[in-house]
Amino acid sequence: NAGVTQTPKFRVLKTGQSMTLLCAQDMNHEYMYWYRQDPGMGLRLIHYSVGEGTTAKGEVPDGYNVSRLKKQNFLLGLESAAPSQTSVYFCASSWTSGADTQYFGPGTRLTVL
């Protein structure tokens, strides 16, 4: 039982490049989330999904897209990376919404030059 896994762990991009972060969970959770963590800012919600095939915007969605084609996977895409997207990205999952425990992945450290 791996819980929540994230791929890759580290990535360096040049401005304008694109990439996709992969999140996978093996707990059969309905809800999945993408957060970014920046110093002094805590965790900010980028996008989330309430089930397979559904996605919704969070607090800071601009510059990101997501897809949830399979229940266990939640992809975060950056179409044209910018230095402001340098951050640590965390994926999480839960059974239900904000009233439930969220289980977090180990994070992806992204640097955009």
């Binding site: 805590g42 965790l43 999480a92 919404s97 904000g98 009233a99 425990t101 977090f104 994070g107």
Partner: protein, 112 residues
């Protein structure tokens, strides 16, 4: 909408001393409250949570938190801190149908 404030950005305690991390929330109804811990280079791990019932909640690693509705607080406590407790601590507030709102975190340093 609910929100949470962690007034202390950094806290330093001596090993063996007691610890209290503050968390204040804003929400009109009974909130769902969480404390998470993040060790360096790791993801977040749940320490404890409060939904209803007994206002004193026990968590993992010897932590506890007390819900005080009159003060809109959910402070985290530990009677004796160990060096391994050095980490970032996040308080979060949620409600059914809403996303969790996290505080900005409190960084705990433990000195010998």
């Amino acid at each position: 909408a609910q929100s949470v404030t962690q007034p202390d950005i950094h806290i330093t305690v001596s090993e063996g001393a007691s610890l209290e991390l503050r968390c204040n929330y804003s929400y009109g109804a009974t909130p769902y409250l969480f404390w998470y811990v993040q060790s360096p280079g790791q993801g977040l791990q749940l320490l404890l949570k409060y939904f209803s019932g007994d206002t004193l909640v026990q968590g993992i690693k010897g932590f506890e938190a007390e819900f005080k509705r009159s003060q809109s607080s959910f402070n985290l406590r530990k009677p004796s801190v160990h060096w391994s407790d050095a980490a970032e601590y996040f308080c979060a507030v949620g409600a059914p149908g809403y996303a969790l709102n996290f505080g900005k975190g409190t960084s705990l340093l433990v000195t010998p």
